[in-house]
């Protein structure tokens, strides 16, 4: 492996300065579960990694009203073992609790999963359907982006040189909101999604779907927002027929490839089934049913 320096930052300013010193030859390291594998495989070379886990904002879990800000480097276990987060955001936990195995979950973070921008990233689609906001810091100051705009291609993200993700903000949930994420893998744990779907619904006082959001994993170069499938649900009562229709539309919105993990046809079918199932689970959660 190409030799690189290790710089531990203790504040956002320190991290910005350290990254600026090495330009495109440095990257922030959170859990390192993707970064170190990629460095070892020779995907790219770095002269420095900047450890951001000692920056307080990067691991903090902060509530403000009903909104939750998750530090970009907070490990998965810290998110899914937090009872308040698990109670309020089960759809986020669905993704956070299936990334790798226990060892990886000790280190890997939602922020890292987002920035790594694998089409199969299990944390990303749940964040999208929650309307999460990425908080970014860099040499020109701070900015925000909707999380769905962070991945720009397989392994590529919208961060500019010297920028890093500080935190992910989950807005307070509307009344009647429910969300769920499911994926298909041959093995239950330690596997990469052949396809995954996150769905969110907000029910109105009459129990009809006031709004919906659906995001698809592992069926395109980036997570895909299935806007037509979500729109097809608005104004309808939750039903097997409306969920099945949304599934068929989502399958058409997917842009899967055939590779070692699955064929294009299989992936479209999986999107259809997983859309229906996650909508059922999202509605059950929105209505307080135990799901």
């Amino acid at each position: 492996m190409h030799p690189f320096r290790y710089l531990a930052a203790h504040s956002i300013d320190e991290a910005v300065a350290a990254l600026a010193q090495y330009g495109s030859r440095a990257r922030a390291i959170a859990g390192g579960t993707d970064l170190l594998v990629q460095l070892r495989a020779g995907r790219y070379e770095l002269d420095a990694v900047v450890d951001v886990k000692h920056v307080p904002e990067l691991t903090a879990l902060t509530w403000k009203g009903g909104a939750l800000t998750i530090g970009a480097a907070a490990p998965c276990f810290a998110v899914y073992e937090d009872e308040a987060i698990a109670g309020a955001f089960p759809g986020i936990i669905d993704g956070a609790s299936i990334i790798g195995g226990i060892q990886v979950q000790s280190r890997a973070s939602l922020g890292g999963n987002l920035c790594n921008a694998a089409p199969s990233g299990d944390a990303i689609c749940p964040l999208i359907v929650h309307g999460a906001i990425a908080h970014i810091a860099g040499p020109k100051g701070k900015r925000t982006l909707p999380v769905g705009q962070v991945p720009t291609g397989p392994g590529r993200n919208a961060l500019g040189e010297g920028e890093f993700l500080v935190a992910i903000e989950l807005p307070a949930l509307a009344k009647g909101f429910g969300a769920a994420y499911q994926r298909f893998t041959p093995r239950n744990e330690m596997d990469i999604a052949v396809a995954g779907v996150a769905s969110a619904v907000t029910l109105d006082g009459a129990g009809h779907i006031a709004s919906a959001s659906i995001a698809l994993a592992s069926v395109g170069p980036t997570p895909i927002v299935a806007a037509d499938a979500a729109a097809s649900l608005v104004g309808k009562a939750p039903s097997a027929a409306s969920f099945a229709e949304a599934g068929h539309i989502a399958a058409r919105e997917a842009r899967p490839i055939t590779d070692m993990r699955g064929t294009e046809v299989q992936r479209r079918k999986l999107v259809s089934v997983l859309t229906r199932r996650t909508l059922e689970q999202a509605v059950a959660r929105a209505t307080g049913a135990n799901a």
Partner: protein
């Protein structure tokens, strides 16, 4: 562009209850530093990319793949490796049970399984078989087929429950 060579960094940490102080290149893994610098070769390298769990160690109370941790990140850490799990005399109940249940063959995966299983039984003494299998999903064994390993963990669980 010529760069100054990357200097080694000093790592001060606690390994298996003992203070450790050694130099390591900052870009090597904790796995490599444990084996090469700290001379603790019980921790094994399997895949070296976070899939097999053979290099599992306990880092600040959480199990991690030591191949996916930089040695430099271990400065100030508390680490337990397989060398630290046995009492001064004899074996840990998990080690004894692995022997009795034939839960190992080639042995490369065994240190990782032992460290991972110990962490589970300390956190969740009553973990059922499903939970044990889920917890150990990050550890691969290509010899036993896992049945003997799960049996051994459950046997050790019984011993530990009796105190």
């Amino acid at each position: 562009m010529s760069q100054a060579p990357v200097e080694k960094v000093r790592i001060r940490c606690t390994i298996n209850g003992q203070p450790a102080d050694f130099l390591s290149a900052p870009y090597v893994s904790l796995l490599e530093a444990l084996r090469e610098s700290a001379e603790l070769t019980g921790t094994k390298e399997g895949c070296n990319d976070g899939n097999c769990g053979a290099c599992t160690v306990n880092l600040n109370g959480r199990i991690v793949d030591s191949c996916l941790v930089l040695a430099a990140e271990a400065d100030g850490a508390t680490i337990e490796t397989v060398e630290g799990i046995a009492p001064p005399e004899g074996l840990h109940p998990l080690q004894q049970a692995f022997l009795e249940e034939a839960a190992l063959q080639c042995g490369i995966c065994t240190p990782g399984f032992l460290v991972a299983a110990k962490a589970l039984l300390e956190r969740e003494p009553d973990a059922d078989e499903h939970r044990i299998r889920h917890w150990l999903a990050g550890n691969l064994c290509r010899c036993t087929g896992y049945v003997q390993i799960v049996d051994a963990v459950q046997k050790a669980q019984g011993v530990l429950r009796q105190g």
